[in-house]
Symmetry: C2
Amino acid sequence: MALIVQKYGGTSVGDTERMKNVARRCLAAQKAGHDVVVVVSAMSGETNRLLKLVAQITDRPNEREQDVIVATGEQVSIGLVALAIQAQGGEAVSFLGHQVRIVTDSTFSKARIKSIDAQPIRAALAKKQIVVVAGFQGVDETGSVTTLGRGGSDTTGVALAAALNADACEIYTDVDGVYTTDPNVCPAARKLDRITYEEMLELASLGAKVLQIRSVEFAMKYKVPLWVKSSFTEDPGTLVCEEDASMEDVLVRGVAYDRNEAKITVVGVPDQPGAAAKLFGALDAKHIVVDLIVQNLSRDGRTDVTFTVAKADFAKAHDVVKLAAQEVGATGVEVDDTIAKVSIVGVGMRNHSGVAARMFQTLSQEGINIQLISTSEIKTSCVIHTKYTELAVRALHTAFGLDAPPPVKDHPTVSENDALHGQKA
Amino acid sequence: MALIVQKYGGTSVGDTERMKNVARRCLAAQKAGHDVVVVVSAMSGETNRLLKLVAQITDRPNEREQDVIVATGEQVSIGLVALAIQAQGGEAVSFLGHQVRIVTDSTFSKARIKSIDAQPIRAALAKKQIVVVAGFQGVDETGSVTTLGRGGSDTTGVALAAALNADACEIYTDVDGVYTTDPNVCPAARKLDRITYEEMLELASLGAKVLQIRSVEFAMKYKVPLWVKSSFTEDPGTLVCEEDASMEDVLVRGVAYDRNEAKITVVGVPDQPGAAAKLFGALDAKHIVVDLIVQNLSRDGRTDVTFTVAKADFAKAHDVVKLAAQEVGATGVEVDDTIAKVSIVGVGMRNHSGVAARMFQTLSQEGINIQLISTSEIKTSCVIHTKYTELAVRALHTAFGLDAPPPVKDHPTVSENDALHGQKA
């Protein structure tokens, strides 16, 4: 018998018929002999409906009050899912964030979990009840309602699994697992059986929208085995887990891309201490998150500094940088929002040379010019012109053997040669 | 400076524009020098929307889970109203039932308030914040969310006023006060300046839908002055308060009617101990509430017992009574659902004779046959054929001087000759 935490996203509880389906799955898991804790999101569209009401009142809402409002979406879901389980003959009880003391800091709208009281849940499980917990919400030390930010229900699920020392956390969504790349861009994309936490983190931050990045960090920290599954199929899904020896045999687990960034270059920055600090300090003061930063060796006492920001921050960042560039005595600012970032990710890179070289060669063979390069231990990213995105993704997917046909049983090492990015089930 | 609790019903917070209007009223009260606590209901239609979702899942919902769901309506309202106050430059903070420890019993869907922790509210008022509290909801001793039943927000308002020892509780609704009778039936109906708790209780139970009866009981118990006002006008409304000497000068404060009852007569009940107990015990076992009961002297060892029930319970009650009548050896059962109950209410009846007689005479003059009569200290009710309802109400309204023109200043005793029943503002 195992203790399983199942988390169902907004589309999985999008209407009452789908909630009945969720109830069936919970009961099936219980019938299979497991203790079941279910975390649910708000019905799809509900959080946006509530935010629209807020927007009708004010465009600068107090975040404590906004959290009070949006937390109701999950509250409705837990009640309805508990009722659906009961209507199918099961035993169920719902809990809100404050009822299981999901205590967070007071950073309203993006609070971080500090502790959870597992006792009420254990007591309910001991009574053979299926426990339905509201995702996305908690309370701070003073008892105010907090929310964990978009996708925060994933984090609730993983945090509960950690607090309960659960055997697994299953994240149910409308995709049936993690793919080697976006199947919309690359038809040869294949679902992965397994992926390491580190790889998932790199892929999530690069644009795969399957799992909230914080929930993966949480799962990694507490070694919670994390399954990504579809609530609409019986597919086993993808396991996000700790690295083991066999997983290193694969050089590249997946290919990701991101077209939502823009590039800013500060030209002719005097090569003196403090210039970069001034530049990025000014951006930080405006809460603009910078992704890649590239600075090459200086020539004639001056250097160029290039970085990327989210497109949404582009105009603001440009204004900030123009001023800061004058202050540090740079000669100019150049911008470009027609870029894409393409990345390959895999723990195998750590112990194998030549992976980056093969990436550059592949892009070169397709006639794609590389504008920026950035590398980490298990990831290599290139910034290219946005028009080459699909071409680059497909070429890299093929070059690193990701679109090989499914392996046969007697080639176990090849069987790791698998999956990344969500695909609609 | 006074401490005022204002309660706004569902139509008063029916959309975000109306919430902004509520915010203006709260701020005006604060600007006038008062400490302001606001209790709000769910946006009109919201509770029904939530109950519809429940009905899609099950027709026999667990009431604990249903309460979790419907309590979200008020939660959304408090957040939005707090934001609306802030958007107008005010200071506001919202509180849910569990945050101000509105502790109730565990009778889900119609819980009763046991205690309230006024401390968090006092602390917020000391910081000059307008305090916005969710109506209709509380928590039981185990921390489960409870609701107080339809109209429970009135009770929340009065309970908070009692706990805070407030100077007044103002109930804002879409009617501008309590009327002498239903203006839809009797154009001569006039708004009352004042009415006693006892009169309000008799009138509420007789069909005036202005205030929840429990909130009036609560206000009477703790002597909370209760104002019924419209959130859409500046009319001072009606004060529900303790009786004083001047209020006794008026014989009849108002005329009420109820067309939602049906009459059942058990004919030829043997006049022996236990017959009535068996009859009404059978009805009680099916949770059927009986209103009027009339039994006259027996003749030839047999008597007739007549009672009224809500029309909604009529068919069920008829079935129950047919069986019970056989058991007690009665000769038959007669039913009639074309009845209306017309009542006159006033504390002045206590010390004046002839009020009932004048009622019977008035009905007689109009050719209306009286089927049943029931009296209490401050009320006399007659059951008549439903077709005479309007005629009876208008005749009684005139007979007891209720449609006299507004009094002039130098006739103070006449100025009590006033109001009953809600009128659309």
